[in-house]
């Protein structure tokens, strides 16, 4: 990514003045303020050796899973070219519907006991991106987590990422390797280019960009659209106003050690979120994460890059498929029922009264470029001050 930081830095003093406002509390009076536009915010996929991570290959797609539910003889019969229409009808219509016509993507809960839609193949590798969310080194159950297995991140720390465990061998996630990427991540990031949802990060009170144990970090939604250059990259140094919805403004304390910013835990983080596939657009419009923390490197080029870890309610995680409906299972060839069943089985956070965990640990790739972040109150004051 090409970024010209010079200009942004030159004008940052000016921003610091703008952003001291009721929306930007506490430490901001000292040190510089650095604003960023988030350009990547999508599932972090660790591309380890495929044979190690997924020794049994990819998780079956909907049609493959359907055939697996059949006897070998029936499978062979259905695979004959002359029976192709019959096969199509069976997997696209019968297999993706419940006894009362339930849609496997819209109503995945009704398939929890249906043996035709088993739990997906899980990642067998030991490495994943993520954060240690439960604070344990063995994944034992705690008041806020269910018993689960741990990964180690590339730095060797024990981390939680159950969503990667169940989705890391799915084609829609892992895609065709690091070169081509998973289509889900591509889509999420391309939606930010289309201006469907955009996020900002602001670091305030930075006295030393390499080491500063007291900085304030804001993570915000913005309603402003991002401009792109001719190669569809976000332009640096754009101005964005923080959303007027207080729910989508998150502020947390952080520290910078050797150029790496680590935040304290944000108990609950909401951000606006649009995800349209084929279904009604905007049916779910909010991301919810719990026990969130970021670890981001402030690179020399001015880019902020790293990982966010946290839990997400599985009802939110599965919302994209629910939103898309059956088309996700047929055209998208993802067995939504299996995905959901896997989420229920591997959920590791926030047990309900029966001890069933309702949230799943995950990690998001985060990348952000310099931008001017304005707070609505300050922006109004600034406008009024001009002649």
């Amino acid at each position: 990514m090409r970024v010209r930081l010079g200009a942004a830095v030159a004008a940052l003093a000016c921003i610091a003045g703008l952003s001291t406002s009721s929306a930007a509390p506490r430490v901001a009076e000292k040190g510089e303020t650095l604003g960023f536009l988030v350009t990547k915010f999508a599932v972090a996929i660790y591309y380890g050796d495929f044979a190690t991570d997924c020794p049994e290959g990819f998780s079956p797609t909907t049609d493959e899973q359907y055939l697996l539910t059949q006897t070998p003889a029936e499978r062979a019969r259905l695979l004959k070219p002359e029976n192709a229409p019959e096969l199509e009808k069976k997997w696209k219509i019968e297999y993706t519907s419940g006894p009362n016509g339930e849609d496997i993507c819209r109503n995945p809960r009704s398939f929890l006991d249906d043996p035709r839609h088993p739990v997906q193949k899980t990642v067998q590798g030991k490495t994943s991106y993520g954060m240690n969310l439960d604070g344990t080194d063995d994944g034992r159950a705690t008041a806020r987590s269910c018993q689960h297995a741990k990964f180690r991140n590339p730095q060797g720390e024990l981390v939680d990422n159950q969503l990667y465990r169940i989705m890391g061998c799915a084609k829609s996630w892992r895609g065709e390797g690091a070169t081509f990427g998973g289509s889900m991540a591509l889509k999420y990031n391309s939606y930010m280019k289309d201006g469907l949802h955009n996020y900002l990060i602001e670091l305030r009170g930075v006295n030393d960009r390499r080491n500063d144990d007291d900085v304030e970090v804001g993570i915000y939604s913005t309603d402003d659209k991002s401009m792109l250059d001719g190669s569809r990259e976000h332009l640096p140094n754009q101005t964005f106003a923080v959303t007027s919805n207080p729910r989508w403004r998150n502020v947390v304390h952080g520290r910078i050690v050797d150029g790496v910013l680590t935040t304290d835990v944000i108990d609950t983080m909401y951000l606006n979120w649009f995800f349209a596939l084929n279904g009604p657009y905007g049916a779910v419009n909010e991301h919810e994460f719990r026990q969130v923390h970021f670890r981001l490197t402030l690179e020399k080029s001015g880019i902020l890059k790293g990982i966010m870890g946290g839990y997400q309610p599985i009802e939110i995680t599965s919302a994209q498929a629910r939103n898309g409906g059956k088309g996700v299972a047929t055209n998208g060839n993802r067995d939504c029922a299996s995905e959901y069943k896997s989420m229920v089985a591997f959920a590791d956070g926030y047990p309900d009264e029966n001890g069933q965990c309702t949230m799943i640990s995950l990690a998001q790739d985060v990348e952000a470029i310099p931008a001017f972040v304005l707070h609505p109150e300050a922006a109004r004051a600034q406008t009024a001050a001009l002649p």
Binding site: P85, S183, L186, S190, G195, L196, G230, Y281, N331, N333
Partner: protein
């Protein structure tokens, strides 16, 4: 200088009978592009679109070089023999302005109407319809819509949701519609001059009558400039006069054979055959002046094409099929792109095979070929693959690759409209509104 006696001509025309009018020859006839008949009367300019769904394969279609010496990658090989007659456009985007990208519903309508659809509906008037309104009036069919797959709703031509032009999807039905019992051989029968053109021509005399009075007031240099003005006026007058004459016989026009009817469905093998037959009938429909505007949709946006013996559609493959690590692309999905581009080559060959005047039917046509996405796997609507074939009767320079670098794709639509003679000075809305055609494309 009056070139001929307007009143004499009109008197003889106003009898209402269909007669041939003898007019003197003029000193400045509009040729220069090798696209006129022997008498100097211009051949009609035709316009068409050729749509295919699901785009191209990254690294296999888009030339790496721009300009005249663009290189041919595997997926463009079918057009290699016609390279000089085809221009490639890459990097022209459908700009969404924050509206959602509805997979398979945004790219095609976005390009055709210049509006990013705010909902799942065709958002406005497509530019082919604007062209048909302007140039398709005095032929039997204002425009003809065709679909290679058996689906009459497979169309990107219309005035908005609910007012779409349905496609003919059977070669036999298409043949019958054009060359069936209602067909009248354009080379036989009487000629009736268009009264509108007569009237347009007649009123110009009021302008020429002012000439002397104007000249009286002017110095020598300005007299020369006024001369130039009247020379230009005379050329237009002559063009109108040409249109009042009985046209030259359409030498390329011949009644094609009726094709056999067959069940097309969505199997690519049938669709290819269907498309070839329709291309041949269409070429004759154009040569016989039955229509001047056409829209061919070989497959649909979310391509439902299948290979014989398989139920997995082209669309599904683009999402599910793994990219072959060695090849770097999805092998089976890519085969569909190859089949579609082969057919694009066939289409161009058929039009170029019809001799007309000093050139070919293709030379007198502008075909805008395009898809609705660059990379189907993720439904991008940036860098739509677009091609211009033919030179619209010498009005378009062809044989170049031009990169848009993120410019709105509507610039190509505006270029096409102006190339075929529309007085359209802008197109599109929001970020896609443009007033700038690609002037480098104009001859």
């Amino acid at each position: 200088m009056r070139t001929f006696d307007r009143r004499r001509v009109l008197r003889s025309l106003l009898g209402g009978s269909a007669i041939s009018v003898a007019l003197p020859l003029f000193d400045c006839v509009l040729n220069g592009n090798g696209t006129a008949l022997a008498s100097g009367a211009p051949l009609p300019v035709r316009f068409g679109t050729w749509f295919w769904g699901l785009g191209v394969t990254p690294g296999r279609w888009k030339p790496t070089k721009t300009g005249k010496d663009y290189d041919i990658l595997p997926e463009l090989r079918p057009i290699e023999p016609f390279k000089k007659k085809i221009s490639i456009f890459s990097g022209f985007d459908v700009l969404l302005d924050g509206k959602p990208n509805f997979p398979h519903q945004t790219g095609g309508p976005g390009f055709r109407t210049g509006i990013a659809p705010p909902a799942l509906a065709f958002p406005g008037v497509s530019f082919d319809v604007m062209i048909a309104d302007a140039i398709g009036g005095n032929t039997r069919f204002r425009s003809i819509e065709l679909s290679g797959i058996a689906d009459s709703t497979n169309t990107l031509s219309g005035r908005g949701a609910g007012q779409m032009n349905p496609s003919e999807s059977s070669a036999l039905a298409f043949y019958t519609r054009v060359f069936g019992p209602d067909y009248k051989d354009p080379n036989a029968g009487a000629f009736v001059p268009d009264p509108k053109i007569m009237a347009r021509k007649s009123v110009l005399s009021a302008v020429t009558e002012q000439r002397q009075e104007l000249e009286r007031q002017l110095g020598a240099a300005d007299k020369a400039r006024l001369d130039q003005y009247f020379t230009s006026l005379r050329q237009v007058e002559n063009q109108l006069a040409m249109q009042l004459q009985k046209p030259e016989p359409l030498l390329a026009c011949a009644n094609p054979h009726a094709p056999e009817g067959f069940d097309v469905g969505h199997e690519v093998e049938n669709v290819v055959k269907n498309h070839e037959l329709m291309a041949q009938i269409l070429a004759m429909a154009l040569a016989c002046n039955q229509t001047k505007v056409f829209n061919m949709h070989i497959n649909n946006s979310a391509s439902s094409l299948t290979k014989r013996g398989s139920t997995t559609s082209h669309h599904q493959l683009t999402h599910d099929e793994q990219i072959d690590e060695k090849l770097g692309y999805q092998p089976v999905a890519t085969q569909f792109v190859k089949d579609l581009m082969d057919q694009w080559g066939t289409f161009v060959r058929v039009l170029d095979g019809v001799k007309e005047g000093d050139g070919t039917l293709l030379d007198n046509t502008l075909v805008v070929a395009h898809s609705d996405t660059d990379f189907a796997k993720v439904h991008t609507v940036s860098s739509l693959p677009v091609m211009f074939a033919g030179s619209a009767g010498g009005r378009v320079k062809s044989g170049v690759h031009i990169e848009g670098k993120g410019e709105p794709v509507t610039r190509l639509a505006l270029t096409a409209m102006q190339a075929v003679g529309l007085a359209q000075d802008r197109f599109g809305s929001g970020s896609m509104e443009t007033k700038k055609p690609l002037t480098e494309v104009f001859a």
